[in-house]
């Protein structure tokens, strides 16, 4: 499912969050970030868990500011083979994902930046494919 930025989708998101975090519970909010948040600012509450998933195994974190890591990045490659999705039949295509997990421990500004230089098997990345950066306002 891909979320587009308009009003009814926002209602859906709020409803989803409401279901996930009922009023009576004090569960830590979980904010999931992916490529669609590139170059954007995300507002999160202090203490939130922030999970950033980028969908190529070639991504590597370059700079993290004011986010506390809660483990090492988890890379989940899609292995080549006839049952692999289209475009993932060969080793080295980068199919799969990398996930970083953080806690927003301090109020103020935070950021996460990742980079990659391969975008397929022996394939260069274009300039726009090389960088992912998201800013956070932690309240």
């Amino acid at each position: 499912m891909k979320i587009q930025g308009n009003s009814h989708i926002a209602v859906l998101l709020a409803t989803t969050l409401f279901i996930t975090f009922p009023l009576s519970a004090h569960a830590t909010p979980l904010v999931k970030i992916s490529e669609s948040s590139n170059s954007q600012t995300v507002v999160v509450s202090k203490g939130s868990k922030v999970q950033i998933t980028l969908h190529s195994t070639y991504w590597a974190s370059k700079k993290v500011i004011n986010l506390e890591a809660t483990g090492t990045p988890v890379s989940v490659p899609i292995m080549p083979g006839p049952k692999a999705p289209q475009g993932c039949q060969f080793a080295g295509t980068g199919c799969g994902s990398v996930t970083w997990s953080f806690i927003a421990t301090k109020t103020g500004s935070a950021s996460f930046e990742a980079g990659r230089t391969s975008c397929g098997e022996a394939l260069k990345c274009t300039a726009s494919q090389q960088k992912f950066k998201v800013l956070f306002k932690i309240k």
């Binding site: 590597a60 490659p77 475009g87 295509t93």
Partner: protein, 374 residues
């Protein structure tokens, strides 16, 4: 920012959540999103790369290649140095305009899965130059340059202490600490080099993975079920040949056919796509330089991971992937940059993952390493 009418039932909680939601436009919250190269996947798909490359469509192939579609390359191995400016695969190359694309190394460990084979002994490199590579074509004066330049490197890269030596440290084993064979060196033979013209081939100028394999089989083992077990079969396409995914998903690849046991690889002419060109001007021909670097990438992956189950990192990267687009120290050459000199010829060849120290584990050997060119 949009606003919403409030209802009593969610005021206390929904308002802050809506604020949060509206502050995260286009945020994806599900895992099934595909983005760029990325694909959704399930954990179960990651369990085993062995025996996954079978393509049953190849089994009933009945090749019918006539000799007039093929030519055996001349065995000339002299260095070919062509200075810019020039016409290179359709792209006008200007002197001094080179900007070398440089990647970042994946320095994570590489893992060997015990029991999986590598290519020990001497490998025979078979080449199909597919497309307009005719050495007599006046319209393609660079064709022979590509071939002789490529073969110059492949025939000299395994000299002692040179580029290929990094691969010799990779091994196979059935038991931790017991080496049952290391990667050997390649050998070239003019008898294993053929030109196949696309316009007279039954596969034409638009190729799939299946047709790449069939081209190999037609050229080198048309009537036998099994390929040369020590063979590496390359299909090298010229710039007008279209291969699905070339330049958007890959610049080359290697694969394995479990029926014939063929280890085969595809590399296209980078002059056909900017995504595969390291620099617009190179020490030789920019297209040939970049193509050779991808050839080296695929060869080193083929010998260390021939059946796609031996040497690769936990993120799926093989040795060539870990060092893609990294060059080490470079120096100016031919208006661009080179990083390796063999004899009198400058080359720009990506680095390879050089094994460092080992940590043995249950069923695997884990090795640290760095990207290097010798």
């Amino acid at each position: 920012m949009r606003t919403f009418s409030k209802t009593r039932a969610g005021v206390l909680f929904s308002v802050p959540m809506l604020i949060l939601a509206l502050s995260i436009p286009n945020q994806a919250i599900a895992d099934d999103q595909r983005q760029g190269q990325g694909q959704s996947q399930s954990q179960g798909q990651n369990d085993d790369r062995a025996n996954t490359q079978q393509d049953n469509s190849f089994r009933n192939d009945q090749p019918n290649f006539s000799n007039n579609r093929e030519q055996t390359l001349e065995s000339g191995m002299e260095p070919v140095i062509i200075q810019p400016a020039r016409q290179d695969g359709g792209a006008l190359v200007k002197p001094g305009s080179a900007a070398l694309y440089t990647g970042a190394a994946d320095t994570s460990s590489i893992v060997y899965r015990l029991g999986a084979p590598v290519m020990t002994g001497t490998q025979s490199i078979y080449e199909v130059w597919y497309g307009s590579w005719s050495i007599t074509s006046a319209a393609k004066p660079t064709a022979k340059a590509y071939q002789t330049f490529t073969n110059n490197f492949l025939s000299t890269m395994a000299s002692p202490g040179s580029y290929w030596g990094i691969n010799n440290a990779y091994y196979q084993s059935t038991k931790a600490g017991v080496n049952s064979g290391s990667v050997g060196n390649p050998a070239l033979s003019p008898a294993y080099q053929k030109i196949v013209a696309a316009n007279t081939s039954k596969y034409g100028t638009t190729l799939s993975q299946s047709s790449i394999y069939k081209i190999v089989k037609d050229a080198f083992f048309p009537t036998t079920a099994l390929a040369d077990p020590n063979g590496i079969y390359l299909v090298l396409t010229s710039s007008e040949v279209r291969v699905s995914g070339f330049g958007t998903q890959f610049c080359g690849w290697h694969s394995y056919n479990s029926t014939s046991k063929a280890k085969y690889s595809f590399v296209g002419d980078p002059a056909a796509t900017a995504g595969c060109l390291a620099q617009s001007v190179g020490p030789n021909l920019a297209g040939a330089d970049s193509m050779l670097s991808v050839v080296a990438h695929e060869l080193e992956e083929t010998v260390t991971d021939p059946q796609l189950n031996a040497w690769y990192s936990t993120n799926g990267n093989e040795n060539g992937d870990k060092c893609a687009w990294t060059w080490g120290t470079t120096y100016p050459s031919g208006g661009g940059f080179a990083n390796i000199k063999i004899g009198t010829t400058d080359y720009l060849i990506q680095q390879n993952f050089k094994l460092g120290s080992k940590t043995a584990g249950a069923g695997i050997d884990t090795w640290s390493g760095t990207c290097a060119k010798s």
